[in-house]
Symmetry: C2
């Protein structure tokens, strides 16, 4: 079970490899050239990463909707037209930034897969998703902007479905490790809805988004679902 | 407690009375003129309602972001410029449509306040919020679009905070009626996050949004939080 989890966990930063076409071929070409030591290819990846980080900072500062490609380029330190070869539209950029947040969260939670199981793994993962500090509140702002735009973008919906499907499998596995005698599907879905709802509260009502509050909610929910409270 | 609930529940359709200024004075003026029987004022309200319903249909069909004011005007049966006197911007329109959905949900759940208490009231309310049918999935699409835009609009954030604050008080009251021996704040917040998260799943992953699934999740959650499953 744990082996299956590990193999399904994203290994490289996929958001770095996204381009306008998003083809596997261009990704492979980029990696191959990097292996051969051609620095220009590496620069493309670095530039893409800088643009995504600049988008992230702008969303954290004042949301995505009013941000312009010009402003994002300036934030990343590039001229206006410099974004187009990497991200043709604002929506491409939003998708890459969402993917960045998703993988950043998973990287932080990776100890849950590597060294822990059951309640410890579940608790660690939930804490990495819950908006418990400024970084995670900024992440919440990115995903809420992404959800709002995704309704109209089939590729973004697929991205949401794939990433949340992955989290759902992990939650089912950890809950089953805690109590194998029950079908944990509904409990996993409840946990997932809770984690998604917490992003909205953090993005839109930051005064209510305290670490103490989320910890109390997580403890109440886990006690209700599996009969035990998480340790500190 | 129940009296307080009733008095805090919105009584008239506030979304009907929204205009560009949104001032209490203009609302009072509109109502006063309506009372005096001047039909033109009533037409304004009807027109505003038609525009909001047209926006709702367009969001349900293909999301909000790509919708234009021209398209919304056409859907409502008006010429392009006819929207401006009622809603100066798309965001004003989105806010009014969110308010419409919020009050429509509350109206459906009103029996929870008038005739029920405790678990029955709580269950009825949750079922009206959860995306259990096509209408409620369309409502989910409206609120997810609203959240995405609201990050950048202080007035929309205030609207979210006010409306969710109201729901939160109701949830605390009903949970306290079920078990007065516990502080139910964290449990109410868990329930609220769950209800918000369910909107995202319904809007972005409609294949996963089945009534049976949400009912199973609600039963699992309520059993965990208050030790009893809701009746059918």
């Amino acid at each position: 079970m744990v082996t299956a989890l590990r193999s399904s966990r994203p290994r490289g930063p996929r958001w770095l490899r996204w381009d306008n076409e998003g083809t596997a071929a261009s990704v492979r070409a980029g990696v191959a050239k990097e292996w051969c030591g051609v620095p220009k290819i590496v620069d493309h990846d670095a530039r893409r990463a800088e643009i995504v980080r600049a988008t992230w900072r702008i969303i954290a500062r004042h949301g995505f909707e009013s941000a312009t490609m010009r402003e994002i380029a300036a934030e990343a330190g590039y001229a206006n037209g410099a974004l187009k070869p990497y991200f043709a539209t604002k929506n491409d950029l939003l998708r890459a930034t969402y993917q960045f947040v998703f993988e950043q969260t998973n990287d932080r939670a990776s100890a849950a897969h590597d060294d822990e199981s059951g309640l410890d793994a579940l608790t660690r993962f939930c804490r990495e998703v819950l908006p418990l500090d400024a970084t995670r509140i900024d992440e919440a702002r990115v995903v809420v902007a992404f959800w709002g735009a995704a309704e109209n973008i089939p590729a973004a919906q697929d991205q949401h479905i794939t990433s949340m499907g992955m989290w759902r499998e992990w939650l089912i596995d950890w809950l089953t490790q805690i109590d194998p005698s029950r079908d944990q599907t509904a409990a996993a879905d409840v946990l997932l809805q809770f984690l998604l709802g917490a992003q909205i509260t953090a993005a839109l009502n930051p005064n209510r988004a305290t670490a103490e509050g989320y910890e109390a909610q997580l403890a109440t929910l886990l006690e209700g679902l599996v009969g035990v409270r998480p340790s500190d």
